[in-house]
Symmetry: D2
């Protein structure tokens, strides 16, 4: 695994736990953790249970005994590492966003396509697809359970910037973070919407906003996830968006074509902590999901008896639900990190079976292209831009 | 109408509004309001729209042009008025509780039975049966939609006594109120449970509690509904229960016999304002209702596809739902007082059709008998007592 | 009252009930109902309790004993009637939308301004402002309870067009309805957002969509509210939008300026029956309202102790809440129609006090101007348009 | 660890994961797994990550290199193993129920007291105390945040017996399971209520019921957790309760004494999958928790401004909340199994610090005594029985 920040802890938990609950065709070994600082990397490896450490990611690629490279570094380094790893014959799991630019993302998708032809596979880590309720939503839409898709509403709402005196962490600086709310959390909403509907976004009209333009500089940006830090008296300029609003028109799909979706990515939704939401309205039903109710899916069945219609709150914790049978008896809740075990399992099983895991780098590229189109539209008075 | 307190306003609204929305076989005229104080009664009559007033309820009974007597006085006067009215050939709508004692209630039920034989009808005002969601719950259970009833959970939770310095209003004095939380709000839970399940309670084991035993005497008990008043420095003794907990065994019923129910009536459920709740668990489904979500019914269908099972939140505001077609387009909420219009409509229609309206005085008597059995059990170390 | 459709029933209920619960400075008499068809108007007048009828609205304006004209006709007749009434010295309550065109709306606002100078007042019927929870939301924002407004999310979601074989009622025809989802229900979202934030919308970027373009012609468009009708085999073209999505930038306001809002008006949100929603995120808190939970307001207080922060579900049914003291004891729910009593009360009191009631015709005009700007933007590739 | 069933998987996950997230004073090693069948035990050890196996629990006690014995066998073997382990100087973590009889439980508590005098500690596994929302509830009550406790409502609702043709697994047989719904899930409700209020139950009045008295015998009781199995044609008798209802009077406590609580344990609450609920009503507030919303706590603050009062839905996922700082950034959900990591952490830290971990065996004994008192009351016509 390359990278030792917050996402490293999550991925480590996935690799560690997946084989304890799922029957895997091959058992992953946590061989090598690569970081930037030897001491910190050693400490993380001990905490998370990696056998060895390095501060040179090329070592991982050079070693013959390593089959999988898991990339959890910031987005600007993804392309170089992933392409090198794929060319060296390593299967690659790369955290989202695939890259910081569409160009890099395209190069990665191309490399992944070439590798796949040789039986070497790449996957991008849109983990929220693997929250059982989200997977169930996709399954129901794919099975035609809600009929033709009529419209989509997707949002990812957080509020950690609501305090205007919160510090200017690296996540608020374009040169380091690449993007703001749009790329960081909006990307999840985009991927989830495309995944659940089975349909890609074709064009967008959007607006990007920086609500608080200046913030105190952090004393030291110690927080690995860039969400918080102590503030100093000096102030700096926020160079990324903190609110993104856009309308999307979807392309041709298996259950409806050309429908509209509204999207929002906000770090200023006071009181909303981690509300990745999607509602898909269809001709015969609807599904509605909110990550703040991680174990629930709301389903509306317009074909039910009229007097009994309403949104059904399904606790997605029964053995019949996706991934659940491997865990606990019915009715026992899962959490955020379980998605990483599901991701590890699905990746290992796909690789072992010699099939392309999803979301592929091509899927990751599509999300980047939507992000780029939103930025283009936002820069053109919100005129529509094709993806 | 005899009585000019809070319930008088609600009943007046029912009589006033029902003919504006429902097609009635006969149009009620609001002829005479009877109170205890001439001035106050005149004022109430003007406010509520009654044509004439009196301070002698016998006048209402003596007048030939009056067909219906609606009794909304405190419980200790119900028996005398209702029996006299029935014997004079007036149809009677009597607010719950039917009476303050089982003996009075029995006399009233007997009088009602004699009157019914002459085509003169009596009904008791358990209005919550006529909240559309509650009526729908009954309809679904009666149709076998949840199969055999396995258990019942019923409660009426309020918190207006949570402040221990709240004054000692008449509702806390046994000689005036007859009963405390048990008779005042528990009676609603009992009636609703018997109504929804279509099954009577056969025996009970219960506990009554007075949580705050002494309270400041009120300066003047001005509040018509006895819920609040200014407090003085002197304190007096609370002589009724403010929390009632009991377990009931139901008798033989159309959808299950001998099942258990848990009941609670509380005026100390901090934060619960008017939570009349009932959940009925059946072999193939369940229904759950909470008056704080007046327009909703939760339905669980155990015969639905396993992966889609959950409680469905039905907005009971569609034309197909009980009473709704008369009101507004789909999706428009009703409120507390609509039950009184439904009650007026059902009473008028039953009387016009010459059939017994429900809940009858016999139904009201059953509730009183359950209350008496709970009191008996509570006085006998919670040993079970037959109703 | 001019007009005898669905809104006529609602307004009648307001006029009838308001004086029974509120102490009014003047008691409204329901003098004259004006419709288009004598027989139907007579029938409606009897049902709703109007003393006399006419089929010529000029009669209402000619009569000296009429002080208030309440207009509930379709939007295309509002301007002529309202202006005539105001010029004749009648106070005017006019149902929304103020008019079908901005030009008519402006003429009405001008007439209202002239009349106000003579002590004759006009108000437009955005009744949802008077749902107690919505009023409370406004009060809290106005009191600075959520600090500076950072963003707004508003939507009005219905699903009565979800069935693509639903008939082509008059509400789907531009020449009769004027507008589709945008003008019919989106107007409510706009007014509510401007009302709650105390800030007007300055510019918009929007998209209008007709999801189902052809529908069966109705056999006869009998349904007064245009929501349903029997369908024939022949099909016609839907000429209004059934989904409107737009982003708005607000102007200068007392608690924040230049913030963004996302808006949605949909008749295809499967399972959503009457979900007028607004969430306002501020620097120190947030409020969230959904008309499907009419008696509730969600409040987030970012200044509360960190471990106790969350959205508080306030049952807006306490005497301390707007309008509630006039109704029932604490914890008793209100319904849709109560807003019309509140409207009648506020209108009568303002007129009696000689002050301008709100929302004024100028407020109604602002909403029309926003609608027009959205249409303009939608016709210009979603480019931003000033209001 | 002694025992290799469903709870073994949960405890293993706790031992495995705790040191990866928490800074522990000592790092647990998963040394030895003891089962009844060598092959199955080997398989479980490999799956869960235990170094060695045995089919003789005495081996664990004999080994000098083992410091902690974790007992997850059925309740009838707890006493013998735990006492032997404590006497051998091993710290003991024992899954609930402490034992199948009060006598055994008392012997265990005595042994634990003797061991504690020597610095050897025992803890019983009421894991739900360590759901962060439950811990927060306790913290708030202990801090006086809800004032004096007025009443308690606790329940544990499941529905896995709702199908009357579900098989007669070992959990429905008294000789193997010891108890039914009362002991299995009611015990959790009792412990949680005593924990959150900080007050023990003093006396009870209860009723036990077996709703479905005969069930098909299972073909083979393969399911480790006894919740499901294939059914045969032959039927057998259910010898445990499947519904327990009781009222409890609490003793003296730090925030109120002598208050009542209502309790329910049901396996027939159709649609309720794992609803461990508790609501505590106090003089100045209330808390409400439901395990089906594992990451939430509802808090009512009766001292808040009157117009803003309501239940606040706190997402217990902020760093300020119990246990959360060790896991993920704010707003990321935890699941069922996290309680086992918290338990492992708390146990290790207490032992390392030489202080008594809680809940102690004495706490476990108290729960057993409540269960015994409920059974005694149920056998005595629900007369009150002291604990």
């Amino acid at each position: 695994m390359i990278g030792a920040g917050f996402m490293g802890a999550a991925h480590s938990q996935g690799w560690r736990v997946a084989p304890r609950f799922f029957e895997l065709s091959a058992t992953p070994e946590m061989a090598l953790l690569v970081g930037r600082d030897q001491e910190k990397t050693d400490s993380a490896a001990e905490k998370w249970g990696w056998a060895e450490t390095s501060i040179d990611w090329r070592e991982a690629i050079a070693r013959d005994d390593i089959d999988i490279v898991d990339i959890v570094t910031p987005g600007d380094s993804h392309a170089e590492i992933a392409i090198a790893a794929l060319e060296a014959g390593k299967h690659v799991l790369c955290e989202k966003p695939l890259a910081n630019t569409p160009e890099e993302a395209r190069a990665m998708a191309d490399a992944a396509a070439r590798a796949a032809a040789r039986g070497v596979y790449a996957m991008v880590g849109f983990t929220y697809r693997r929250v059982p309720a989200a997977t169930l939503a996709r399954d129901l839409v794919a099975a035609g359970r809600i009929g033709q898709v009529r419209q989509v509403r997707a949002a990812y709402l957080q509020d950690w910037l609501a305090d205007e005196n919160g510090p200017l962490t690296w996540r608020l600086q374009k040169d380091r973070a690449g993007s703001g709310a749009l790329g960081d959390i909006g990307a999840h909403a985009i991927d989830l919407a495309q995944y659940v509907t089975g349909t890609d976004i074709a064009s967008v009209s959007g607006t990007l906003e920086t609500i608080v333009a200046e913030r105190p500089l952090p004393v030291a940006d110690g927080a690995a996830h860039g969400l918080s830090a102590a503030a100093s008296a000096e102030r700096g300029v926020v160079t990324v968006d903190d609110l993104a609003l856009f309308t999307a028109r979807f392309g041709a799909g298996p259950h409806g074509s050309g429908f509209l979706g509204s999207f929002e990515a906000s770090r200023f939704s006071t009181g909303r902590k981690n509300a990745l939401r999607i509602e898909v309205s269809g001709s015969t039903g609807a599904i509605s999901f909110d990550l703040e109710n991680l174990n629930e899916l709301q389903i509306f069945d317009a074909t039910a008896p009229a007097e009994e219609q309403g949104f059904t709150r399904v606790l997605v914790t029964e053995p019949v639900h996706p991934y659940i049978a491997a865990w606990w008896p019915a009715g026992h809740m899962l959490g955020y990190e379980h998605g990483f075990s599901h991701q590890a399992r699905d990746f290992v099983e796909a690789v072992a079976a010699g099939v392309q895991p999803t979301p592929s780098f091509a899927d990751g590229l599509k999300v980047q292209q939507v992000l780029a189109a939103v930025e283009a539209s936002a820069g053109a008075d919100s005129a529509w831009r094709a993806v």
